[in-house]
Symmetry: C2
Subunit: 473 residues, 2 copies
């Protein structure tokens, strides 16, 4: 199936069907991505203002076999939003569909359009005395439609789940331009196949999400934050089990950080205030969110005491104010920026079964040491089994010095992950970066089923071709 | 596509490929279902002992275009396990695949084969000091594969979610006889389309689930149960909001019961001990499950006090022992049996948005009153918006007296549910009972996508034909 470029002729067809404001000038920002790995390619850029306009554009694209690249906040880390090759596509940005259509505080539901920025969704929930718990570094730029299309993770997954767990219903334009009106506010609905979860995580290859019904939660009434120095990743897992045993789902975040991250902060972002005079080898950042009748700092003290007695921790800081809690989180949140400034040779967003984490870290470190002199910054959402395991050059060297080793490092880490029953893309998705990894490590029966589904719902192959699955020739 | 019967010739083919023990004598139990509505039809009954044997049977069925009806515990309420017509199918029972393959307490994960009885799965979790929270009336007979295939609900949904929310991974035989090895123990895995959730809830029409990786939870350390008399369904919803605000996810069940249910118990099951001398018009049954450091009965007393002050409740009983808690639950759990003994004219497993519950009950009651003299037993999982809204004959009459009104009643209730943005199958699924309802009320774009997916994954139409979607002619 050869696709056609979104050329002047296609532009004319769009302008016959839709007002000229739907098209946007080609700005560089649409064709760049955060890793700086690809330069995008777009014949036309459209920013429709309504679901009807999205549907009209998709129908035209289907009629004329023009590829569509759906575009949210552009913050994806695997190139799902960037088409580097093939006939120039229509880039379809949801940036004008930003309405919070409705909030139902008594149902703990909100309906938001796909272009709403994640931070605005959070704020709209807070304005109704509710929590929308999806939280990630790019939340000031990322849009909820993209978060859903990529099944985003972040720091709230331990307690609240991934993006798919936060969604009750979708409105979406399918590849033939029809509109699925699936904005259900229902907690239970067993009427047919789970189209919602099929679209979530399909990275724009099966349709364009235009709006979503999102789950909200009561705001936790008592919150607390602590940093605890743990002896090892194994001790971190035991501390987590202890915390959940004592506090149940009150544990709302549990992040592991290696000393390397603190050292990168010292090196590249000296203004970020560091809580420990001497950073421990392994630190966990714990957030609690408890209902009204409990004391979060009391609970953290009790946890620290029990963990000290069990030999799991040897130092700890409990935030005494919201400002101090923000300071603790600031350390965690600046680590990705410090990483960027150092410049990684190879970054890995992996997950393994929880009990395999210590083995993964131990064997991973040995494998990397065998490949040369590198620094490893391992951090992430340890309660979800999700680590960002990033490999950096030794001091005085740069990533450019290791370009030729990059694929070997990536392969070695991913082989280990696969051997341990893990995933080579825990939360970022496949995009274009990991299409080859998915073909290599994915279950062949699942891959065949994915291809059959893709061909059934998008027989022309116009939706984000080359993302998730290889483009058809 | 005409299918062939599972006849003697097909039997011979099976016996050439597999040991004779795989086949089972035709027993009546396989061809009956709890509603007594259909008589099943099966050419052959097979009970494979391994995933490989399941795959071999499915491959044979695909080669010879023989329909397969996957069979779990046989407890489904919508006829998904019963093929009343068409060429006699191969009934494929998972009853011999009952192993708990592994328990990983430190990961809160268990891997169970599809034929494991739900109560055995719960017991295996408890044996590892963990909770598997799926809980429903048929748990002593239902099998976990069927629970997943139908995305079962039950009383734990409010806190823990539906069956799909309790599953991390699947092993399944697809309609071409290939095996998807997807028994992931990962909490985060963004590698391609969500085949797991597509199979969950597809009621055996897209493949046969053979095993599942299930999520476990720490056992709640402090549990408590109470009955509270509420003024109205609206007051019940306010009480729920208050409870969640005070106790967060400590609220693990919240069931609404109308007085009619208590009266049916008095009439048909007088041995069931009733806690109230005079049953209130509306009662809620509340279960708490709290971590170690809290007192559940203290929390229930506090909740009752606050609710009394707010005018939401006017009577209440807090269980003083586990025996008394079991007594409270026994009332709730015997209501379906009392209903069966009375004999409903029409039963409805519906859900509506939470805030629409009072309107649904008020308008529903008025509509039924307009259709004749009936008794309504409305009860269910009000925190999920899921009500069992069942219509019974007046005293002295029987369901047979109203056979001709049955479709009108059902239609009127379902029309109202649809108008309020609800679902005509909240937790039981579509099966064969509600295929027409789904065609009538379902979104046409979703239906078209479902058909495309069905045809793509099961082009011969052998998997449970006539369930969920109409069988192809």
């Amino acid at each position: 199936m050869t696709l056609n470029a979104a050329d002047d002729r296609f532009r004319t067809l769009i302008l016959q069907a839709l007002p000229p404001e739907v098209l946007r000038p080609a700005e560089a920002r649409y064709l760049e991505e955060p890793r700086g790995r690809w330069a995008g390619n777009a014949g036309l850029i459209a920013a429709p203002r309504s679901t009807d306009e999205v549907a009209a554009l998709v129908r035209l694209a289907a009629q004329h076999k023009v590829a569509i690249v759906p575009y949210g906040g552009g913050t994806g880390l695997v190139g799902g939003q960037i088409a580097p090759d093939g006939p120039a596509p229509l880039l379809l940005s949801l940036e004008r569909m930003t309405a919070i259509r409705a909030v139902y505080p008594e149902e703990n539901v909100m309906v938001a359009e796909a272009g709403a920025i994640l931070a605005d969704v959070q704020a709209a929930a807070a304005g109704a005395d509710r929590l929308f718990p999806l939280s990630l570094a790019a939340e000031g730029t990322a849009r909820i439609g993209g978060n859903l299309a990529t099944n985003a993770g972040g720091t709230g997954v331990l307690r609240y789940g991934n993006a798919r767990d936060l969604c009750l219903g979708l409105e979406a334009v399918l590849p033939d331009g029809t509109v699925w009106h699936g904005l259900s506010r229902l907690r239970k609905d067993n009427t047919g196949y789970d189209l919602r979860n099929l679209l979530i995580g399909s990275e724009g290859t099966l349709g364009v999400i235009t709006a979503a019904a999102l789950k909200l939660w009561p705001l936790p009434r008592a919150t607390g934050t602590a940093l605890m120095a743990v002896a090892s990743p194994q001790a971190a897992l035991k501390l987590l089990a202890m915390a959940r045993d004592m506090l149940g789902d009150g544990v709302s975040a549990f992040e592991l950080m290696h000393r390397q991250g603190f050292e990168f902060l010292t090196e590249t972002l000296p203004d970020v205030r560091q809580p420990f005079a001497e950073p421990p080898e392994w630190t966990v950042l714990i957030d609690l969110g408890l209902p009204a009748r409990q004391s979060a700092s009391g609970a953290l003290e009790e946890l620290f005491g029990a963990a000290l007695e069990a030999g799991l921790v040897d130092d700890g800081l409990i935030a005494q104010s919201e400002a101090q809690a923000a300071e603790f989180w600031s350390v965690r949140e600046h680590i990705p920026e410090a990483n960027r400034r150092i410049g990684s040779v190879s970054s890995h967003d992996i997950s393994v079964p929880l009990s395999a984490i210590p083995e993964f870290i131990e064997r991973g470190d040995a494998i990397i040491a065998g490949l040369g002199a590198f620094r490893i910054n391992c951090f992430g959402h340890v309660g979800d089994g999700n680590l960002h395991y990033n490999v950096f050059p030794a001091p005085g060297r740069t990533r450019q010095d290791h370009v030729e080793q990059r694929d070997d490092i990536k392969r070695a880490v991913h082989d280990l992950v696969h051997e341990l029953g893990g995933s080579v893309s825990a939360e970022h998705g496949i995009g274009r970066l990991k299409v080859g990894d998915l073909q290599r490590y994915g279950d062949p029966v699942k891959l065949a089923a994915m291809r059959a589904i893709k061909d059934a719902l998008d027989p022309l192959g116009i939706m984000n071709p080359g993302a998730v699955l290889p483009a058809r020739g």
